[in-house]
């Protein structure tokens, strides 16, 4: 029990906290993804916890160190750790080692339709679902992020100096094209419609390329590094962390150039540290540096509700189940909330 939580009487808890399950695990929550109507969360001590509806959660000892990254692969999850292991874990707790790189960290993982990808240092390893041995895709500098496009045809790899986009040609050979921009690029994502590619940079800025003509532009004005961003599923907006408001750039029509973003705010002046879209809605969950989380409609700011109140530690993971019934929230002190969204 942290001292901060003690100061807050039961009455100040949101209805979501009152009806949900709150845990104080005491270890940073590093990542979380949905698998159907379950949520898998990764922790700084190498454990994975699987939260299922109305059931007790299951704890699996998966890695020996920090779980650095996680991705969904059908009914399994993929995890990479600072112990060098790349693992596949099933919902019922079966753990399979895909590979292990020894003292080299597995920094990023991704999957599409059974094809698995991870990065360690400067190399991306790609396991075709029909093959046993991975294909190595080499880069000149350490990889900052990985992302498939919505159809799984292109794989974007961010790095120092820009992004490399990998694609198999008609003869099944890997071909790459480069998008260059000076500086260190971290998280990378295609827009759901495949028209744009966005990276967050070491500086407090996002870089975006319109892929049809490689026109590039910056989205700037942030008070801190943009660690989390997400497209709304119809590519109408890109919602981003890194400021006191959740900054939502319009991506409909001709894109965000020359247009103002919508800034969703919440009482107080805490930085937004995590963004998770509400599936199929123009709405987002925004997690703040003090642990609180709000849900807001992008085009109707008055429609904002507080999901979780202050915990004193920055929100580091939010995930919603596929049926949109329940949500998981975790922070850097290991305070978690697992709750249903709808009133019974």
């Amino acid at each position: 029990m942290t001292t901060d939580l003690n100061q807050f009487p039961e009455l100040d808890k949101t209805k979501f906290e009152q009806r949900g399950i709150q845990l104080e695990i005491g270890v940073p929550v590093t990542c979380a993804v949905s698998i159907g109507n379950n949520i898998a969360a990764g922790f700084g001590d190498g454990t994975v916890r699987i939260f299922s509806s109305r059931e007790k959660h299951k704890t699996l000892k998966a890695h020996k160190g920090v779980i650095l990254c996680m991705s969904r692969d059908g009914n399994n999850i993929l995890t990479g750790g600072d112990d060098g292991y790349f693992l596949k874990i099933s919902l019922n707790g079966e753990i399979n080692e895909i590979t292990n790189f020894g003292s080299r960290w597995v920094d990023h993982v991704a999957a599409y339709n059974g094809n698995l990808v991870c990065s360690s240092g400067k190399v991306v390893y790609y396991w075709d679902k029909n093959k046993k041995e991975p294909k190595s895709l080499n880069h000149d500098s350490t990889i900052g992020g990985l992302a498939f496009d919505a159809k799984g045809r292109r794989l974007a790899v961010s790095r120092y100096g820009g992004v490399t986009i990998w694609k198999k040609d008609y003869s099944n050979k890997w071909k790459s094209t480069k998008l260059d921009w000076k500086g260190s690029h971290n998280k990378v994502s295609f827009s759901p419609d495949g028209k744009y590619l966005v990276t967050s940079m070491q500086e407090n800025v996002l870089r975006c390329w319109r892929l049809k003509d490689k026109l590039d532009f910056a989205m700037s004005g942030y008070g801190s590094k943009v660690k989390s961003f997400a497209f709304i599923s119809d590519t109408s907006y890109l919602a981003t962390s890194g400021a006191i408001d959740a900054i939502c750039w319009p991506f409909d029509g001709e894109g965000p150039m020359g247009r103002k973003p919508i800034c969703l705010s919440y009482i107080g002046n805490k930085q937004v540290t995590f963004i998770e879209p509400f599936p199929d809605e123009k709405a987002i969950f925004a997690g703040l540096s003090d642990g609180s989380v709000f849900l807001s409609q992008i085009e109707n700011e008055n429609n904002t509700i507080i999901i979780r109140s202050f915990t004193g530690s920055e929100v580091s993971a939010i995930a919603m189940t596929d049926d949109k019934s329940s949500i998981f929230i975790g922070d850097m002190n290991g305070n978690t909330l697992w709750t249903s969204i709808w009133d019974q």
Partner: protein, 324 residues
């Protein structure tokens, strides 16, 4: 909550090839019983390291897009430090060993530039291991050896058992010419009490007040124009704050590449507080640090370490900042 807000101290071990960095590292790891350390090494490390938590790093130096050409940082360190901060067990300290040919500036600048790194860790000190036998020739032949001396908070002059006393004097003088405020410790096999090299808090402004550097008389004679030297200035006349800020700001902007380290305590006219600053190239940390002590003379002191200092009219610039 205090525990999570504690910044983990980071010690940077630098030094030319073969000087004894790994010896010192293993000494730290074996002597500090019951402490949890993470060691970040480069993949070309010379010998084995005896620790549970060793992280391999590629020294990836890159420029920040902030319009400042000398503002280079270690991208790999940002990634590794933020990963280490997610661990369940709290670390007592982190030690970064650089390659023998590394410039220490990007390591130090990483702690100024990245907000997440600065929030969760703090640069404790740069410890430079120098080979007493070969240092003089290394300084002549490799600018990296000179830079490592220039950036050191502590310089371990190692292998003194292999050098005659008078030659130790010569090497010590050479070090002092480059860096007058580093603490020099003479060792054999890096044998020194660990309190001399760990938890020094050398980059905190408070520490600059506690251990006032030797503000030596300026020494202008040197052989090459690109030698690293130091210059220091002392004045009892109060300074004009606006004049000083204009001069110093412009100086770092235009000459920041050549100015490696700066430190100073400043006495401004009509100000009750002491102003303390320290910087690495163009990046600077500065703050008022409380009132001048009653029993102490109010005087401004300023030290520069860098190349081509004699072309910067530092003395004239400093003189012009005086309020009378």
């Amino acid at each position: 909550m205090e525990e999570t807000n504690r910044q983990v101290p980071v010690t940077v071990l630098t030094g030319f090839l073969g000087a004894g960095k790994t010896t010192l590292l293993n000494r730290i790891l074996t002597e500090q019983h019951g402490k949890k350390y993470a060691v970040i090494v480069n993949e070309f490390g010379e010998q084995g390291i005896d620790n549970d938590l060793v992280v391999d790093a590629d020294e990836e130096v890159f420029e920040m897009n902030n319009g400042c050409i000398c503002c280079t940082v270690r991208g790999d360190l940002i990634r590794i430090l933020s990963g280490l901060m997610k661990r369940a067990d709290k670390l007592d300290a982190i030690i970064v060993e650089t390659t023998g040919l590394a410039d220490p500036a990007p390591v130090a600048q990483t702690f100024f530039v990245d907000q997440d790194v600065a929030n969760k860790t703090k640069l404790d000190a740069i410890v430079t291991v120098a080979d007493a036998v070969h240092l003089s020739s290394q300084i002549e032949d490799h600018h990296e050896a000179e830079e490592q001396i220039a950036f050191g908070d502590v310089i371990l002059l190692n292998k003194i058992d292999l050098v005659k006393d008078e030659n130790i004097e010569v090497v010590t003088k050479r070090i002092r010419k480059i860096n007058p405020f580093a603490k020099i410790i003479k060792t054999t096999k890096c044998g020194t009490p660990l309190k001399e090299i760990l938890n020094l808090d050398a980059f905190s402004l408070k520490r600059i007040l506690e251990v006032e550097p030797d503000f030596l008389e300026s020494d202008h004679d040197h052989e090459h124009d690109d030698d690293v030297t130091s210059l220091s200035f002392v004045s009892d006349t109060p300074l004009d704050m606006e004049k000083f800020q204009n001069w110093f700001g412009k100086l770092l902007q235009t000459k920041g590449q050549d100015i490696m380290r700066t430190k100073g305590i400043l006495n401004f006219k009509d100000e009750n507080d002491r102003y303390v600053f320290q910087g690495v190239h163009m990046l600077m940390d500065a703050s008022p640090m409380g009132k001048w002590p009653e029993n102490k003379k109010r005087s401004s002191r300023l030290v520069f370490i860098g190349r081509n200092l004699d072309t910067m009219n530092l003395k004239e610039g400093f003189e012009a900042c005086k309020s009378e």
